[in-house]
Amino acid sequence: MAMEATEIQPLGKAIKRKEDPRLIRGQGRYMDDIVLPKMLYMALARSPYAHARIKAIRLDRAYEVPGVVAIITGEDLAKMNLAWMPTMAGDRQMVLATGKVLFQYQEVAAVVAETRAAAEDAAERIEVDYEPLTPVVDPFFALTPEAPVLREDREQKNNHIFHWEVGERDATEAALTASPIRVKENIRMPRVHPAPIEPCGCIADYQKSTGKLTWYVTSQAPHAHRTVLAMVTGLPEHMIHVISPDVGGGFGNKVPVYPGYVCAVALSIKLGRPVKWVETRTENLTTTNFARDYHMTAEIGATEDGRVTALKVTTIADHGAFDAAADPSKFPAGLFSIVTGSYRFPVAFAEVDGVYTNKAPGGVAYRCSFRVTEASFLIERTMNTLALRLNIDPAELRRRNFIRPEEFPYHTPLGWTYDSGDYEKTLNKALALIDYENLRKEQQERRARGELVGIGISTFTEIVGAGPSHTFDIMGIKMFDSCEIRVHPTGKVIARLGTRHQGQGHETTFAQVVAQELGLSASDVLIEEGDTDTAPYGLGTYASRSTPTAGGAAALAARRIRQKAAQIAAHLLEVSPDDVEWDGVRFVAKGLPSRSVTMSEVALAAYTNLPPGMEPGLEATYYYDPPNLTFPNGAYIAVVSIDRGTGQVKVERFVAVDDCGTVINPMVVEGQVHGGLTEGFGIAFMQEIAFDQDGNNLAPNFMDYLVPTAVETPRWETALTQTPSPHHPIGAKGVGESPNVGSPAAFVNAVVDALSPYGITNLEMPLFPWKIWEILHQHGLAL
């Protein structure tokens, strides 16, 4: 059967996913599905206190449990030099507590047993004598002289982790002073958690006879994890085989190395048997990588007609007990410096101070693109405040300040060079989809009837695809990514990448990129990721970097193959290599369109009929060091109404227009947007990991940490504009995190808009019904 042109030019098509046939049959292979001979199970004993000294640990009663094989504490790990491990933020983190505990649920001892149940029974019977210490919960209190010093292991005897700043402080102050209009807002992004539906875990399988460790792990960055593990354990890197099998969602939660992983590895090395560790939901929510927890103050200067003149931002960042924020090493506050957003700020200044508290480590997770969620929320909220202050429509205020299409590449005052954008086009599409003009009229009518109705806009700019090697590294390793493509004699292809998807559809979309470049059908290309013995080294999948980095590598590796293929084609067509042209699906002899060969024919010739002197085979590898990041953007509009009896906010409509440049698979992009908007909805209305004054975690499971179901989740209306990235090999930008980055501000702006006639300009997330209900009562609005 002859192939259709659409089949061999699959880029941009809504191709069904290759992942699905196994996943809909329950034949995915996730970490906990894997069973190895003689495998043991591990469970962790955890601290009930947020801050306490450990006086003694007694294991006798735990050892009585039948089936227990071994128990380790921090002191055992100290003998192996594993009691502490390095973090991506350049700090260090306890593996098992020695001396004291610094957050509730912290790991204190690890038990391995013949069954899951025995391991858990024994972990419960470990007895620890604690001497409670004063916990530090409030990050502002943490910086005062009265606060107890949490990290006695550090040279600096205070709770201050770092100060980071960017931009011109004095010039910004001066511009603010000279501005006729100034608005200031305190904006907090509460601590939330990415909560992938599959929790974290691993199987460590150390073979004493070969000295090789095989490590099955829920990992978004298996190569980086292999390198970190080699550095931590001293095992040689070629003897560590990391396999990240199907991953049940990551959302940034599966980027760090966790204490449980290190304990399982240490125990497997000690015992010479496989050790499986699977955490519970409670352990996942209380101890793994949280997100946000930024306490920000923003000030915008503007002219009377609404042109912005300056932006100043001050932030206290609560990092918990250890700084394990998963950032590129030169960016302790991530890419927060994108905070000037989509607007033409002549001058700006931002500073962030990181603080230790008695809470779990983390900070960078949950579709944040390295703190872009915080930056976008801040600027989109404060622009809303400015619009209220000036009494200018928020869409119009944005339009007056947008970076214009002809100004790209645009240099921001905080150091980024935006690649491309047409913000007004994207906004206009969203305004048209929601029929903004009529919506505002309708709002007036409904307000006149006593209804509380609000419209919220967010027009954000993302920064994704870390990143260029001159600036970006993870623990010293440059943030390139890679693709290796091998074409078999029959024209079928296997391609492997250094990224690791957790549901984002790489097995389908990267096949589309490779197939497009090679003139093949996507069904002819098998994509593999996650096995460090076979896949080329890459930095993994997070911060929406897969398409910008590995996507670029895939296209360029395929083009390398095409260069060689062109020479073979010339040989087959009996013309000079200069006389061969690639028409998008085949090689054609110049001026003789009837004489052509396909990539499949060339592939066979690469193994059977080569030009003299040419190396047999047809394959290529590309390690792609991106010249810049990509800057996708979007225009989101939310319409809400508030129930005056209950304080419940109803999202009546939500329109999301995203621009991520060239679209590889619109079906997959739409699914990413639906998922990200649902996260943004949860963050705006339902989610917070809060603590009481004793440091008790108040949302340790799904009883209290609320994740939206189908009933709460609104309908999403989505659309795309396409402004390609000029520097990317196929013009594609990342997009996966845009919906979470962009949507919380749209929701909150909408609720503020509903209440703004009553003098309300700011509301703090999450917008729980009880919180709105209190405001309704305070303002005499309650029914």
Binding site: K16, R17, D20, P21, R22, L23, I24, R25, G26, Q27, G28, R29, Y30, D32, D33, V35, Y63, P66, G67, V68, V69, A70, I71, T73, A113, R116, A117, A195, P196, I197, P199, D246, G248, G249, F251, K270, T280, R281, T282, Q502, G503, Q504, S523, G671, Q672, V673, H674, G675, G676, T678, N701, F702, M703, V707, T709, A710, V711, T713, R715, W716
Partner: protein, 183 residues
């Protein structure tokens, strides 16, 4: 750190149970505290059924017990003695996928796939019993499920499509479904 008593494994008190799982009778001796979800996964190797929480919220462990969708993390195996259990592995019966499996694929109703087995068992039961359900009714029916990837929109679309497929031509559908899902 190695167990001083050598860690000799001693069998706990066990009870014999007989369950019919995916049409086959299974008799095993299990501890009374063994959850059905773990029994299916660890004892029978039916790892399509997943575990996503510890408080009965997420529903990714949903299977059919005597024809009803049930969160298997919240049933003891001994309670299910004598019951008929159907898991996601049996949704594709005699090589023919259930209409919801085909519809989830067509409508992009899954991403990471971890909630998918539970979502499919819930959806398949609903399509079989409430073939004309509205969007709002479908969302209510999915209330016991947590999906972190899809935002539910495409799951609802998939259930709607499955309803249509079911109604169209059940017999003709079977052949088409087999072809599509194997592509």
């Amino acid at each position: 750190m190695i167990c001083p008593k050598g860690g000799t494994f001693v069998e706990e008190e066990r009870h014999a149970v007989t369950l019919v799982v995916n049409g086959r009778a299974v008799t095993e001796e299990v501890e009374p505290r063994l959850l059905l979800s773990h029994f299916l996964r660890d004892n029978l190797g039916l790892t399509g059924t997943h575990v996503g929480c510890d408080t009965s919220q997420c529903g990714v462990c949903t299977v059919w017990v005597d024809g009803l969708p049930v969160k298997s993390c919240t049933v003891l195996t001994v309670q299910a003695d004598g019951s008929e259990i159907t898991t996601v592995e049996e949704l594709t019966h005699d090589g023919v996928p259930h209409v919801v499996q085909q519809a989830f694929q067509r409508e992009h109703g899954l991403q990471c796939g971890f909630c998918t087995p539970g979502a499919l068992m819930l959806s398949a039961w609903h399509v079989d019993h409430y073939p004309g359900a509205s969007d709002a009714e479908i969302r209510e029916a999915l209330d016991g499920l947590i999906c972190r990837c899809t935002g539910y929109e495409n799951i609802v679309r998939a259930v709607k499509r499955a309803q249509a497929l079911q109604e169209e031509a059940p017999a003709a559908m079977a052949g088409q479904a087999r072809e599509e899902a194997s592509s």
